[in-house]
C-alpha cells in the first residue's frame, strides 16, 4: 500500500531494492575487479541506510556508524581487496552446468522465498520498514550463499561473504536499530578481522597454486 509509506520508509524501500539489484549484478559478472566494485557500491548504500535510520530515529550512534561503515567497507576494504587481486587472473571461472541465466533464475527463486517468509511475520513495532527489510536482508543472505557456491574463486567467495554480511548489516540496522552501538561496532570489527584472515588464506592459496581458484580443493572428501 504505497500511499501509506512515509519518506523514510520510501527511502529504505528504495535502498533495499537497489541493494538487491546490485547483488544480482554479481551473477552476471565474471571479473574480480567488477565483484569488488559491486561490493563497494553496496557498502555505500548500506552506509546511506544507516545514516537515514540514524537521522530518522535521532540516533547519533547510527550516524557515526554510517560514517565508519563508509570509510571501512565503502573505501578501505575494496582497496585492500583490489591490492589482493593484483597479479592474479582477473577472470572468474564459471561452473560448467550453471550458466549466468540459470544462476539468475536460482537467485530469483531465493528472493521469492525470502519475500514469502517475511510475509508470514508481522514484525510491526518500531522497526523502520519491517516487511520489505526482512525480505531484502534474507534475500541478500541467500543470494550471497549462492554466489559463494557458484563461483569457485577465493576472491569471489570473499566478496560473496561480504555482500551477505552487508545484507545482515542492512537487516540489523532497519529491523533492530536499537541494538547497542557497541554491537554494531563489534560486527564491523569482526568483518574486518575476518577479511584479514580470508586474505591470509587467499595469499597462501595463490602462493601454493599460483591462482585463486578453489577448484584445487579436492583432497578432503568422505
Amino acid at each position: 500500500m504505497l500511499h501509506q509509506l512515509t519518506v523514510p520508509q520510501a527511502f529504505a524501500g528504495t535502498i533495499a531494492m537497489l541493494l538487491l539489484i546490485v547483488q544480482l549484478a554479481l551473477f552476471r559478472s565474471v571479473v574480480v575487479a567488477e565483484f569488488i566494485r559491486v561490493y563497494a557500491l553496496q557498502s555505500w548504500l548500506v552506509a546511506a541506510i544507516c545514516f537515514g535510520v540514524g537521522v530518522t530515529e535521532g540516533a547519533f550512534d547510527l550516524i557515526v556508524l554510517a560514517f565508519v561503515t563508509l570509510l571501512f567497507k565503502g573505501i578501505l576494504l575494496p582497496r585492500y581487496m583490489q591490492g589482493l587481486a593484483r597479479g592474479i587472473s582477473a577472470r572468474i571461472e564459471l561452473p560448467a552446468r550453471i550458466n549466468v541465466l540459470l544462476s539468475l533464475v536460482l537467485a530469483g527463486a531465493l528472493i521469492g522465498l525470502s519475500i514469502l517468509t517475511s510475509i508470514q511475520l508481522p514484525l510491526h513495532h518500531g522497526a523502520f520498514l519491517p516487511r520489505a527489510d526482512l525480505a531484502a536482508a534474507l534475500a541478500m543472505v541467500f543470494t550471497g550463499f549462492l554466489v559463494a557456491i557458484l563461483r569457485p574463486n577465493a576472491l569471489a567467495q570473499v566478496v560473496a561473504f561480504l555482500t551477505l554480511e552487508n545484507g545482515l548489516f542492512f537487516g540489523t540496522i532497519t529491523l533492530a536499530p536499537g541494538l547497542p552501538f557497541v554491537i554494531g561496532i563489534l560486527l564491523l570489527i569482526d568483518v574486518l578481522v575476518a577479511v584479514v584472515v580470508f586474505a591470509v588464506l587467499v595469499r597462501a592459496l595463490i602462493g601454493q597454486h599460483s591462482a585463486a581458484s578453489v577448484s584445487v580443493f579436492e583432497s578432503l572428501r568422505g
Binding site: 517468509t117 513495532h125 550471497g144 540489523t172 533492530a176 536499537g178 580470508f198 578453489v214 568422505g222
Partner: protein, 479 residues
C-alpha cells in the same frame, strides 16, 4: 572476580606467548590451562549451590572449557617440542601455535559467560576466525583447504544465526521498547508477549546458523576436514569445546522459544537434525580410513545424540543430554590427544598403517582404547551413563519409536568405532617401531582427563547433579 580471571588467564597467556620464546610460553600455557580449569571448577561449584553470578546453563557449558583447555594446555608442553615443520619455521610455528591456542581458549571461555544474544554471536564469530588460523597453521595443502572450507561455511552459517538474533530482537521491540539490550533474561521474562511467529523463525535460523558451528547434519561438512587437518590440540578444542559452545547458544534460543510458543517446535527440529546427524555420523564412521576424521564423524554422531536428548523433552533425557555434553568433551579430548601421539609416532593418520599401538605407546595406546570404548558407549564410562539417561527418557514417553531408532543408530556407530579402535590398538606393531613413552606432560594431561571420562561413569558428584537439574529446569525439562 572468577569470571574475569577465566578470561584474563588465557588472554594473558596468549599475549605472552607472542613475546616469549616457546620453551617458556609452553610451560606458561600449561599453567594457564590448569589455572583456568581450577577457576571454572570453583565457578561451577558455586553455581550448583545457586550462588555466584552465573546461572546453571552457563556454569555447565563452562565445564568442557575447563576440562579440555586444562588438558590441552599441559599436553601442549609436549606437543610443541614434538611437532616439527622444518628447522627455520619451528620456533615461529610454536609461538604462533601457543598464542593462537590460548587466544582460542579465551574466546571459547567467553561464550558461556555471555547471556547477551548479540554478544554471543560476536564471541562465536571470533572463535571461528581463531580456529581457522589454527587449522591453517601446519601450512599443508590439506590444512589450507580445511581452513578455507571452515571459515567460509562457519561464517555463512553464523550469518544465518545473526539473522536469528535480529529477528528475535525485532520480536522483542513490542514488549521491550525499540532500544534495549538483547539480554536472555529479558526475553525470558517477556517470553509470553513476544510475537510467536518471529520467535519460531528466530529459533529456526539460530538452529541452522549455530547448528553449522555445532556440526549438526546437514550443515556438518566443514567438521571432518577441520578436525582432521588441524593440529591435534586444536582438534581436541574444536571438538571438545567449540561444539558445546555453539550448543550453548542454541540452548539459550530454545529456552526462549519453549517459554514463548511451547516446546513442540524445538523438539521437532531437534529430532530432525539429531537423527540426521546420528545417521551421517554412524554410517560415515564405518568407512573412515583416517584416525582423526574417524573421531570427527564421532563428534557429529554425539552432537546428534545430544540433540535427540533435548528433543525427547523428558526431564531425564534433558539431564542426560546436558551430562552428555560434558562426557563427550572429556572423551573426545582424550581421544584426540592420544590419537595425536599415536599418529606422531607412526608418522601417519591412516588407520590401516597403524597397529599394536598399545605395545608401542603403553599409555597413549591404552588411553586411546579407553576413549574409543567410551565414545562407543561402553560401560563403565560416563558416556554410557548419559546415553542410558537419554534413551530411558526417550522410551518413557510417546517418542519411543524414535528412541528405538536412536538405539539402532548407536549400535551402528558402536560397531564403527570399536572396529577401528581394535585395529589401531591391537595386533602386532611394526618391528622397527620405537617402543615406550616418557613425556610426563602429555601422559599426565591424558591421565587426568581419563579420570573424568571414567569417573563420571561410576560416580556423579552431587554438585554436578544439582547443576544438571538447574540447567534442565531452565530449558523446560520440568516434567
Amino acid at each position: 572476580m572468577l569470571p574475569a580471571a577465566v578470561i584474563a588467564i588465557p588472554f594473558t597467556a596468549a599475549l605472552l606467548s607472542m613475546l616469549l620464546p616457546s620453551r617458556v610460553s609452553r610451560v606458561l600455557t600449561g599453567f594457564a590451562g590448569a589455572a583456568t580449569a581450577v577457576c571454572i571448577g570453583s565457578m561451577a561449584l558455586a553455581a550448583s549451590k545457586g550462588g555466584g553470578r552465573l546461572d546453571a546453563v552457563s556454569a555447565l557449558f563452562l565445564l568442557p572449557v575447563g576440562i579440555v583447555y586444562g588438558a590441552v594446555g599441559v599436553y601442549s608442553t609436549w606437543y610443541v617440542r614434538a611437532e616439527s615443520i622444518g628447522s627455520d619455521g619451528d620456533e615461529r610455528y610454536r609461538r604462533e601455535f601457543l598464542a593462537l591456542t590460548n587466544a582460542f581458549a579465551c574466546a571459547e571461555v567467553v561464550v558461556p559467560l555471555l547471556t547477551n544474544m548479540a554478544g554471543l554471536w560476536v564471541a562465536l564469530e571470533v572463535t571461528t576466525i581463531l580456529a581457522a588460523l589454527l587449522v591453517r597453521l601446519q601450512g599443508t595443502d590439506a590444512s589450507l583447504e580445511a581452513a578455507w572450507k571452515y571459515i567460509l561455511i562457519a561464517s555463512c552459517g553464523l550469518a544465518i544465526g545473526l539473522v536469528g538474533v535480529v529477528v528475535l530482537y525485532a520480536a522483542g521491540v513490542g514488549p521491550l521498547g525499540s532500544r534495549y539490550s538483547p539480554e536472555w533474561a529479558q526475553y525470558m521474562a517477556m517470553a509470553g508477549r513476544l510475537d510467536p511467529n518471529a520467535v519460531r523463525l528466530a529459533f529456526l535460523l539460530a538452529l541452522i546458523g549455530f547448528g553449522t558451528k555445532m556440526g549438526l547434519a546437514p550443515m556438518h561438512t566443514w567438521l571432518p576436514d577441520a578436525h582432521g587437518a588441524g593440529p591435534t590440540p586444536t582438534s581436541a578444542m574444536l571438538s571438545g569445546i567449540l561444539l558445546s559452545d555453539a550448543l550453548y547458544v542454541i540452548v539459550r534460543f530454545a529456552a526462549i522459544t519453549n517459554d514463548a510458543v511451547g516446546s513442540g517446535m524445538t523438539r521437532t527440529l531437534f529430532f530432525v537434525v539429531g537423527l540426521l546427524s546420528l545417521f551421517v555420523g554412524a554410517f560415515f564412521l564405518l568407512r573412515q580410513r583416517d584416525i582423526k576424521r574417524m573421531l570427527a564423524y564421532s563428534s557429529i554422531e554425539h552432537m546428534g545424540i545430544v540433540a535427540c536428548g533435548l528433543a525427547f523433552g523428558a526431564p531425564l533425557a534433558i539431564l542426560g543430554a546436558f551430562l552428555h555434553v560434558v562426557n563427550h568433551s572429556a572423551a573426545k579430548g582424550l581421544a584426540f590427544l592420544s590419537a595425536g601421539r599415536i599418529a606422531a609416532r607412526y608418522q601417519t593418520r591412516e588407520i590401516e598403517k597403524i597397529s599394536g599401538a598399545v605395545a608401542v605407546l603403553p599409555f597413549s595406546g591404552t588411553l586411546f582404547a579407553f576413549a574409543g570404548l567410551a565414545l562407543a558407549g561402553m560401560p563403565p564410562f560416563g558416556i554410557f551413563r548419559s546415553e542410558i539417561m537419554i534413551l530411558a527418557g526417550g522410551f518413557s514417553g510417546r517418542s519411543w519409536p524414535i528412541a528405538a531408532l536412536v538405539l539402532a543408530l548407536l549400535v551402528v556407530a558402536f560397531a564403527g568405532i570399536v572396529r577401528w579402535v581394535m585395529e589401531v590398538t591391537g595386533g602386532d606393531a611394526p618391528k622397527t617401531m620405537q617402543r615406550g613413552e616418557r613425556d610426563i606432560g602429555a601422559i599426565g594431561s591424558m591421565l587426568l582427563i581419563s579420570l573424568v571420562v571414567l569417573g563420571l561413569g561410576v560416580y556423579l558428584p552431587e554438585p554436578l547433579e544439582h547443576l544438571l537439574a538447574r540447567a534442565a529446569f531452565i530449558l523446560g525439562g520440568r516434567g
